[in-house]
């Protein structure tokens, strides 16, 4: 140790003493990433990966509702899943909800982003206000819209009824035909701002030159939008759809708070069905099976999307 020569360069630098460097364990001074990544890896393995494998293992057991014991029966839950009509209903609701929410939020988000993309005074404030719905807890948003859509004293319901747009005999959230749309409304209110934010960031990053050239060539605003803006935004649009789509697919908060899967099973999604099986039936293996099936659908659907639209991170 004593014979180790300190390079002359190191003498006059603000590294506080070469003394301390010598007592550090070797791995702290090496270039190996292990010590930097070990803690995070350990946490994810313990509380993310292990439970996932455990969940998979659990799907191979049949729960006896009387003895409350799990018996090894590897095909039981999966057979039950594919024969379960409620699962198919839930898949339908989940896709219907996800796709309509994506289309509406994307369309609205792009339109509002174009509207707010201005450097004039006041627009910064408008953009800031527009982000506020994003930080409201989804459960609170659910409650908010539950109250607003209440059949007898909700501000939106009474407004629609007094405008003659809705019949008071069919409360929005209590009618099987419109309940999912009511839940969707809360989602749209909360997440359209997310699309606005992403689209605004995309619009602001666009190069100016092509637009100037197009203007000189006499292009109209709509031509510029469809030929220039949209193609240049396509990459970020695809990414936004992917991120939002994965989130939408596991919708839970709004459904749980606003309709609790009802009326009947008209707003039951895969996640809320798994929750019902867990809380009401305590059939943990089957709840795990539905959850893993949801994960499987997420993986398959998003992989197809990534391939189809060539999404890059």
């Amino acid at each position: 140790m004593v014979s180790q020569q300190v390079p002359s360069l190191a003498v006059d630098v603000p590294v506080s003493g070469t003394e301390r460097r010598r007592v550090w364990p070797r791995f702290l001074t090496s270039e190996h990433p292990f010590p930097w990544l070990a803690p995070i890896t350990a946490l994810i393995l313990a509380f993310g990966v292990y439970p996932l494998l455990y969940a998979l293992w659990l799907t191979f057991f049949k729960r006896n509702p009387v003895t409350r014991l799990n018996v090894f029966n590897p095909t039981w839950n999966w057979g039950k899943l594919f024969a379960d009509e409620r699962v198919w209903g839930a898949i339908g609701h989940t896709y219907l909800y996800t796709i309509s929410a994506l289309l509406i939020e994307l369309g609205l988000g792009l339109a509002i982003a174009l509207l707010l993309d201005s450097d004039r005074r006041g627009y910064g404030l408008l953009r800031a206000l527009m982000t506020l719905p994003l930080v409201v807890p989804p459960a609170v948003t659910g409650m908010m819209f539950l109250l607003m859509l209440d059949g007898s004293f909700g501000v939106l319901s009474t407004g629609l009824v007094s405008l003659g747009l809705w019949s008071p005999q069919h409360p929005i959230l209590a009618s099987s035909g419109s309940a999912l749309a009511g839940v969707l409304l809360a989602d749209i209110w909360q997440w359209t701002p997310f699309m606005v934010l992403i689209m605004l960031a995309g619009l602001r990053a666009l190069p100016k030159e092509p637009f100037e050239a197009a203007a000189i060539d006499g292009a109209t605003a709509s031509q510029a939008f469809f030929r220039l803006t949209l193609p240049m935004l396509s990459r970020i649009i695809a990414l936004a759809v992917l991120i939002r789509g994965v989130d939408l697919f596991r919708i839970y908060d709004y459904v749980k708070v606003m309709t609790d899967s009802g009326p009947g099973t008209s707003t039951e999604t895969l996640t809320s069905y798994a929750g019902t099986i867990y809380f009401k039936n305590a059939d943990f293996p089957y709840a795990s099976t539905i959850s893993l099936f949801t994960l499987l659908l997420v993986i398959v659907t998003s992989s197809i999307f990534i391939k189809l639209f060539k999404v890059r991170f």
């Binding site: 550090w24 702290l28 209110w189 795990s288």
Partner: protein
């Protein structure tokens, strides 16, 4: 494509209208929190200001006033029943502990890991990053049943620490991605210069690079705080006596009637810290939400 004067004014009007529409639910929600119960259930007083504002809802949810005091204060006992207590002070304290704890733990892990992912060159770097990000794609429901079992064995069920751990797990992928993009913005020359001067990796990280990404750490912290503060599913499954705000608020809806005044008061309170935070780090947050995807 220069706008004419008329086009500009039309755009202004449209922009204000659209943003106003999005602000209306929040405005109305806050308004409801100041209404006496009678006004909430009266159609004529649903929107306008023809009601007598009251702080009763806040007094019950924040100060723990009893039902009897409430009845005297408002002269109205409509909807008595359901949950016996509406005092939510403990809920707010628990939610704060959990959100702050999860934010701290996430930062501790992500700030360190993202530095290595940004600066060190190792073979499985991209694969490792993808693996972390893939955790974000996993629906929490997929792991919830085993996590309940695990937490039962580890005595973490219905504890603040348990929720801190799962919230951290949920926050980690975004936090790592975000921090990595902030580190990537710092030129590698900075590290190399310090290295030539004889600094170790740890010294470069702690004394040189970390101070340069302070703003990024703040934005990441805000995002983590908001995610943990608003998290619902995990709290619902993993807790019983300890309630976070989003779960607690749903317990006010009972079969005998919903306490909308209390719900609105607690809901309005739930929104305030996030509003303040997001307005503070607005600019960096836009970066965060777009996941640095704008950089080529």
């Amino acid at each position: 494509m220069h706008e004419t004067f008329l086009q500009k004014r039309l755009r202004d009007v449209a922009a204000v209208l659209v943003v106003g529409m999005f602000m209306f639910p929040l405005f109305w929600w806050a308004l409801t929190s100041f209404k006496p119960t009678s006004a909430i259930f009266n159609k004529d007083e649903i929107v306008w200001f023809n009601f007598k504002p009251t702080l009763v809802n806040y007094a019950v949810t924040m100060l723990g006033k009893s039902r009897a005091e409430l009845a005297i204060d408002s002269g109205n006992t409509f909807g008595v029943g359901g949950a016996s207590s509406y005092d939510s002070r403990q809920t707010i304290i628990d939610s704060l502990i959990i959100a702050v704890g999860a934010t701290a733990l996430t930062l501790l892990l992500a700030v360190v890991a993202a530095y290595a992912l940004s600066r060190m060159r190792f073979r499985w770097r991209q694969a490792y990053l993808n693996w972390i990000l893939s955790q974000r794609f996993m629906p929490p429901i997929a792991i919830i049943v085993p996590v309940v079992f695990m937490f039962h064995y580890l005595s973490l069920l219905d504890t603040r620490l348990g929720l801190i751990i799962v919230d951290t797990l949920i926050n980690l992928p975004i936090a790592v991605l975000l921090m990595k993009s902030f580190y990537d913005d710092v030129p590698v020359d900075v590290d190399e210069a310090a290295m030539i001067d004889g600094a170790t990796r740890l010294q470069i990280f702690w004394r040189v690079v970390l101070p340069m990404v302070k703003g990024g750490v703040a934005a990441t912290a805000v995002l983590c705080f908001i995610f943990s503060w608003t998290e619902f599913l995990m709290s619902l499954f993993l807790t019983n006596s300890i309630r976070t705000l989003p779960v607690r608020i749903t317990t006010f809806v009972t079969s005998t009637g919903s306490e909308w005044g209390f719900i609105a008061a607690l809901g309005t309170t739930a929104v305030i810290p996030s509003f303040i935070f997001i307005l503070l780090v607005q600019k960096q947050l836009v970066r965060g939400l777009t996941l640095g995807s704008l950089k080529e």
